[in-house]
């Protein structure tokens, strides 16, 4: 499915930038000045000549129609991907001020590349149609078995290490430092259990994380133990829970759930990066079903993930869910319309309800850090007692009025310290101005991480992350 003829929004383009300097450089090139001979075709090709410092302008062409994300080609020497010229060109195109007119034919310099892409797409469609080269099911099964054995060995070893730790006491972990955990994490990588490895690595950081660390360390050790045990006894678990355990361990899974079609509203999109990988999380809300789904897309370090869905847009598309009870992750399937701005807002709950939903979700997946919730009519409030911020119900709990008839005490959920120290908090406060707002975010045991806010009156969604 292509998105012919529909121009993107500037936000959508900027989300493609691999880093902040590129975003800035691209913004500056998003004006008509340096561009010439620009155009776009009905097939989703956008091209233009950008005047740089040299005598010969750069030739930039972008294919925005590919469902797997846009493809770029530019004659500039930049190693950034996409380069600032591609971003600038797309911004100009998105601006729709006539600087990138619709055209029928590509210029000569862009044609070979476009032709190559058309051919490859054609070949791919043919292979897909013929079913491709089917893998040997027997070999697949053997590989999976071998991996399961390795994970089992890894989980048993980890159990042993945890037992040793508890035998000697957590106090000794403070002295042991990172080294011990790094080594154990490496063992888990060898055991092909990346989920275990990541958890172990995080354990290493806890003793240095300030007051209360023994509590946090014990919690995380206990949950890791729970995961080990879940894996070792997975045959005894209900199928849904076993699937959750497998995905927490880090075994590959696929979105094999039945595709559900809905008009999906983009609630939030944010990136987290480590040294090797940028992970982009996109929260979607089914405006008809009321379901919430999470899309994950990845980019190698320094590259933005290809999927870019700015907050506030909605698209008619199919999502396929991953296996596992309470699993929200899904893959984006066929898209029937291009993302377009939508005035719809998700239905919200009160603070008490939000905490209860996280509790319910823990029953299905005890390793959950947080659960997506939309809070309605909450006021971002500075909490002088803790020095932090909270989201407080604007009105008392209407479901439990006290006997005197007045609304009962107003409740509040703290904003996580990490979220409260970022720039998003001030945007949230600014959008509110002391008035109740609707906030979408992740509600967990550390508190609430606000991701998107809607003002009390009419107004667009404001991304906080």
């Amino acid at each position: 499915m292509t998105q012919q003829g529909v121009r993107w929004t500037a936000d959508q383009v900027l989300a493609l930038a691999p880093d902040a300097p590129s975003r800035k450089a691209g913004s500056k090139l998003g004006v008509a000045g340096p561009w010439s001979e620009a155009g776009s075709s009905g097939e989703g090709m956008v091209w233009g000549l950008c005047k740089g410092s040299g005598s010969k302008p750069y030739q930039t062409v972008v294919d925005v129609a590919d469902a797997a994300g846009p493809a770029y080609k530019c004659s500039c020497p930049s190693r950034k991907f996409p380069c600032k010229h591609a971003l600038g060109l797309l911004l100009l195109w998105a601006g729709a001020d006539g600087s990138v007119p619709d055209a029928q034919t590509l210029p000569d310099w862009a044609e070979p590349w476009a032709e190559g892409r058309r051919k490859r797409a054609q070949t791919k469609r043919e292979t897909d149609a013929s079913g491709g080269a089917a893998a040997d099911p027997e070999a697949v099964r053997r590989r999976a078995e071998r991996r399961a054995e390795r994970v089992t060995a890894g989980a048993s070893e980890l159990e042993q290490r945890l037992a040793d730790l508890l035998r000697g006491g957590l106090a000794s972990a403070e002295q042991a430092g990172y080294g011990m955990w790094e080594e154990t994490a490496a063992r888990m990588v060898d055991a092909q259990a990346p989920g275990l490895a990541a958890r172990v690595r995080e354990l290493g950081a806890i003793p240095a994380s300030g007051p209360g660390w023994p509590v946090r360390l014990l919690e995380e050790c206990a949950l890791l133990h729970l995961l080990d045990r879940g894996w070792l006894r997975r045959d005894l678990l209900p199928a849904e829970l076993a699937a959750t355990v497998r995905s927490r361990i880090g075994l590959p899974s696929s979105a094999d759930g039945r595709p559900t079609r809905d008009r999906w509203l983009v609630l939030a999109q944010y990136d987290t990066a480590d040294s090797r990988l940028t992970t982009r999380r996109t929260w979607l809300h089914g405006t008809e079903s009321g379901h919430t789904a999470l899309l994950l897309s990845y980019g190698a370090a320094g590259r933005a993930p290809a999927l870019s869905l700015p907050v506030g847009l909605a698209l008619d598309a199919e999502l396929s869910a991953y296996a596992g009870d309470g699993q929200l992750r899904a893959d984006l399937g066929e898209q029937f319309t291009a993302p377009a701005p939508s005035p719809v807002r998700p239905k919200g709950a009160g603070v008490a309800e939000a905490a209860a939903r996280y509790g319910d979700a823990l029953g299905r997946d005890p390793w959950l850090e947080s659960w997506p919730v939309t809070l309605s009519r909450v006021v971002p409030t500075p909490d002088e007692a803790s020095g932090g911020w909270q989201l407080a119900d604007a009105d008392g709990d209407l479901e439990r009025p006290d006997p005197a008839g007045a609304a009962s005490e107003r409740l509040a959920v703290p904003i996580t310290p990490k979220a409260a120290s970022g720039p998003g908090l001030w945007r949230l406060a600014a959008v509110s101005g002391g008035a109740p707002v609707t906030v979408f975010g992740e509600c967990g045991h550390r508190g609430f991480t606000p991701l998107t806010a809607w003002p009390e009156g009419p107004g667009e969604a404001v991304a906080l992350c």
Binding site: L218, L237, L362, P366, T381, R410, A430, G434, P455
Partner: protein, 545 residues
């Protein structure tokens, strides 16, 4: 096994001592099962596992059972902003301008516009149209204004009441409360005498300064009377600041008060009072200064052509000192010429025509001055013309822009010219600077261009572009003109962009040109053109309805 299913079951069971049970588990975990036995378990090889089982149950249970806390006191609501919201394209533009923070790029600027430099214009345009700021951009706007004091007045006007509401919550933005009238609190109406008097007597210094300015704006006399009620009790620094606020709306009615301030205890207050009085041509002080100055300067006709002769004062008497003349010259200056300068500076310019036999200012300025006094005398007249905002004298002292000494080390320096230009009307100023540039080029024009109003009038813009073009053809590098280029990007009328298109091509390099200069020039012109286009887009976006 204590699997997840068990965790589920336990979470629903109730135990009043679950908090204690958890505490006990943490203690055991800290010390180690070798030293302490988990509760309800016998010591042995599987004690750590039992401890982890129990801890897992407790962890999930604690997380699942989290209760919301009672809410803290709800913050007061920000005042409503009745202004209409920005059109969507203008809003996007603002977001883009605000992401371009100084220090994020660095290095050579290339052909792309310098967005941060356009923010002041954007804000001025938005304020002109009376738009409200989009709340979610307020934090970025306040951060930008925090880093640049020159942005603050426009930024805070645009930001409106919600920015002040935010500033009370974030110490980083305290400046917003300081630079806003009354720290964000509403000032009493200037005509509400009782409230004004109360705030004047009880307010903080900054509040009082703002109050005085507001009252002065409304009714100059009321402000002066307000100040007089507490004048003798104020501290010297405060008196100085308050006196300074009489500068706006200065009129003959202020003379008695200022005359009284001439005998103030503080020397700075006396000097300011004298300066203000000298700006009132009808004041007694101005008359005293005029009589002193005219006794020093005369026309000598004995040499054939009329010549100005100067006899500088021989002493600085108590009367002069009381009228604000500073007796001690700065190091390196003769005291007599120092006194003369001060006398002439404070003398109403209108009196000289009579003194020189009905000559016009042009004729007076053209008279030769004997004994090397021309520099001192003309410099003092310049200062007087600036202080008294006298357009006729300013014009006379500026001379013709094309005159050969206008660019050289003449009697009147560049910075004095820049100040003199301030007394002229916008159009005349632009015309004069255009003439100057046409004759003398750009090398000394930066300061003069700085006082011209933006956008530049057509003749001025054309003169600058022509001069840049000449500079390019002369083969020098564009960064010798980076200051003028930067000004041109900000001040040239966007309508000029089309005329500049021809300059963006890289020309063939003449033999004597600096290597590569042509490419850099074309880059600089491209940046100029794209900045102009951007400015036009900005302006059009703000005018959209």
């Amino acid at each position: 096994m204590k699997g997840p299913s068990t965790a589920d079951a336990t979470a629903t069971s109730t135990s009043t001592s679950s908090g204690d049970a958890w505490e006990e588990l943490v203690t055991v975990a800290l010390l180690g099962t070798d030293r302490r036995t988990p509760p309800g378990h016998s010591p042995g090889a599987d004690a750590p596992t039992a401890l982890l089982d129990a801890a897992a149950v407790q962890t999930v249970r604690r997380r699942a059972g989290l209760r919301p806390a009672p809410a803290a006191a709800r913050p007061a609501r920000a005042a409503d902003d009745p202004r209409p919201p920005l059109p969507a394209p203008a809003r996007r533009r603002l977001a883009m301008l605000l992401t371009d923070r100084p220090g994020t790029g660095g290095g050579r600027r290339g052909t792309a516009p310098d967005l941060m430099e356009l923010l002041p214009q954007w804000l001025a345009g938005a304020n002109e149209q009376g738009y409200a700021a989009p709340p979610d951009l307020l934090p970025a706007l306040l951060d930008a204004a925090r880093g640049r004091t020159d942005l603050r007045p426009q930024a805070l006007t645009f930001a409106g009441p919600r920015a002040l509401w935010l500033a009370r919550l974030n110490p980083d933005w305290k400046f917003a409360l300081r630079s806003t009238p009354g720290g964000g609190k509403a000032l009493p109406a200037p005509e509400d005498a009782a409230d004004v008097q109360r705030l004047w007597e009880e307010g903080l210094f900054a509040e009082r300064v703002t109050l005085l300015a507001a009252v002065r704006e409304h009714s100059p006399a009321a402000a002066r009377e307000l100040l007089a009620t507490t004048w003798s009790a104020e501290r010297a620094e405060d008196r100085l600041m308050f006196l300074d606020s009489l500068r706006s709306g200065l009129a003959d009615a202020d003379e008695p008060f200022l005359e009284q301030a001439l005998s103030d205890r503080s020397r700075n207050v006396r000097a300011t009072a004298a300066e203000l009085l000298s700006a009132l041509p009808g004041s007694a002080l101005a008359a005293r200064m005029a009589s002193r100055a005219t006794s020093c300067v005369a026309v000598d006709r004995t040499q054939g052509a009329a010549t100005i002769t100067v006899e500088a004062p021989h002493e600085c008497d108590a009367g002069m000192e009381r009228d604000g003349v500073v007796a001690k010259p700065p190091t390196g200056r003769g005291e007599r010429s120092w006194w003369l300068g001060q006398l002439v500076e404070a003398t109403p310019l209108g009196g000289w025509t009579a003194r020189f036999g009905g000559r016009t200012p042009e004729e007076i300025v053209a008279l030769p001055v004997a004994d090397d006094w021309q520099g001192e005398l003309h410099a003092a007249w310049c200062r007087a013309a600036v202080r008294q905002r006298d357009a006729v004298w300013s014009r006379a002292l500026l001379g013709a822009p094309a005159s050969p000494d206008a660019g050289g080390p003449g009697a009147v320096s560049l910075s004095e010219r820049a100040k003199l230009l301030g007394s002229l009307s916008d159009g005349e100023r632009a015309e004069w600077v255009a003439g100057f540039i046409a004759t003398h080029g750009l090398s000394e024009a930066f300061q003069l261009l700085g006082v011209c109003t933006q956008p530049w009038a057509e003749p001025l813009g054309r003169a600058v572009v022509d001069a840049l073009n000449i500079a390019r053809d002369a083969g020098s590098y564009p960064w010798s003109f980076s200051g003028v280029m930067g000004l041109a990007e900000r001040c040239l009328d966007p309508a000029e962009a089309s005329r500049l298109d021809g300059l963006t091509a890289t020309p063939d390099e003449p033999e004597d040109a600096a290597p590569g200069a042509g490419g850099y020039w074309s880059e600089a012109f491209q940046r100029l053109v794209s900045t102009l286009r951007l400015r036009r887009a900005m302006r059009d976006e703000l005018r959209e309805t």
